[in-house]
């Protein structure tokens, strides 16, 4: 989010695996829930992704926040929905990839149910003329939902059945300032843009 807004954060790496540093004393003091990310800005400490997104956007990119009552409601809906994605698809990823304990079948089934909801919503958004979840431009709702959708294949949940999700992910990856991470590649320089006008 900070990169999309063009602001610089000082990143502090955490040895999540194999060191489990997020469960260590220093980070538990900042966040008793023992989760990451954590944003520290002076005396301000935020430990929920949605709160961090809202805080950064409010200061540096108000266009990324919904403004009217309906849009605010929808944005909030998706921010909460992102928790389902994190627990289901993120959980499946930890079990499948890093040997975390958990019921893989149930996590994957919950993940597929959430992806189907998201696909249906994005189809409706496309029919209404927008690629993004709320309004015509990207908001913190898109950024909150994006990572664990894009990382679903790490938990052996395929994204092939969801064309609208794939178009939405491509639009997010094409945003200026987008940063890749392992499992989510940047757009290839040499790959043609499928939505480009055909040459005359």
């Amino acid at each position: 989010m900070a990169s999309l807004l063009g602001i610089k954060l000082e990143l502090r790496p955490v040895d999540f695996h194999p060191g489990r540093e997020h469960k260590g004393e220093e980070l538990l003091a900042l966040n008793p829930a023992g989760s990451i990310p954590i944003l520290v800005d002076g005396d301000v400490v935020l430990t929920e992704s949605a709160a961090i997104l809202a805080y950064l956007a409010a200061q540096h990119g108000p266009d990324w926040l919904a403004a009217d009552p309906l849009a605010i409601g929808q944005q909030q809906q998706w921010l909460s929905f992102a928790h389902r994605l994190t627990s289901a698809l993120g959980g499946a990823r930890l079990v499948e990839m890093l040997h975390f304990p958990g019921d893989l079948d149930a996590l994957q089934a919950n993940g597929v149910a959430a992806l189907r909801e998201l696909e249906a919503a994005l189809v409706a958004r496309r029919l209404a003329g927008s690629t993004f979840l709320v309004g015509g431009t990207p908001t913190i709702a898109d950024i909150a939902c994006f990572p664990y959708v894009a990382l679903a294949p790490d938990g052996s949940v395929a994204l092939d059945p969801y064309p609208s999700i794939r178009i939405w992910m491509r639009a997010i990856r094409a945003l200026p300032g987008f940063i890749e991470m392992p499992g989510i590649h940047r757009l290839h320089e040499l790959a043609p843009d499928p939505f480009a006008e055909a040459p005359a």
């Binding site: 040895d15 194999p18 499948e96 890093l98 790490d154 890749e180 991470m181 040499l190």
Partner: protein
């Protein structure tokens, strides 16, 4: 290599620092194994039988058969100035040999590790040498030259980077990346993150 030779080979089954006395269930070549360690001497049990074990490179190694030779050595691992980095385990849905193949292939660098190990503007792989060294029963690729945007931090010395592959079944493996580097500037967490970054970029390709 015969089926017996596969069983007689050494395989990694855990980080020595990650073992515990209560034991951890795992698999090796399709067979159930339990790996013990922690404050007890490391031990691997399969079907009520104690398997041979070797502790080396920070990992525990075992074999289902009767290895006729010692596990290979990496002389650099004993160099006092090298930092040895345990990267942890990553499960990959692919043939264990495919994980090895990915590690040896440089042609994917520009597209999978863009601007780290390769760049899309420099995709060419020059001819290099591959040989099977009968005396040590190993495959060697040498004289590999490739454009890499991010160079190693130890001029004049080779970094040693390994992927230790535990074949769980024919199409599933646990991979333990490991490194022995000359680098006293970068934090251990940063070194681990770099290797995880590279390997987690590979993982979807291997399983694809």
């Amino acid at each position: 290599m015969t089926a017996t030779a596969m069983r007689d080979a050494w395989y990694p089954v855990g980080l020595l620092s990650g073992l515990n006395r209560g034991g951890k269930e795992s698999r090796l070549l399709g067979e159930e194994i339990t790996v013990y360690g922690g404050d007890a001497a490391p031990k691997v049990v399969s079907g009520g039988r104690d398997l041979p074990v070797v502790e080396r490179f920070g990992h525990l190694w075992t074999s289902l058969g009767s290895p006729d030779k010692d596990l290979f050595t990496i002389p650099e691992a004993d160099h006092p100035d090298r930092t040895l980095v345990d990267v942890g385990v990553v499960r990959v849905k692919c043939s264990p040999l495919r994980a090895v193949e990915n590690f040896l292939d440089v042609a994917h660098f520009p597209f999978v590790h863009t601007d780290i190990l390769g760049a899309e503007s420099h995709p060419e792989v020059a001819e290099y040498k591959v040989e099977i060294r009968d005396d040590v029963d190993e495959v060697w690729a040498t004289k590999v030259e490739f454009y890499q945007p991010q160079a190693a931090k130890s001029p004049g010395e080779w970094d040693v980077i390994a992927l230790f592959v535990q074949p769980l079944t024919e199409d599933l493996c646990d991979v333990w990346p490991w490194m022995a580097l000359f680098d006293d500037e970068t934090s251990l967490t940063d070194l681990i993150h770099f290797q995880q970054l590279i390997f987690l970029q590979d993982r979807p390709m291997d399983a694809g």
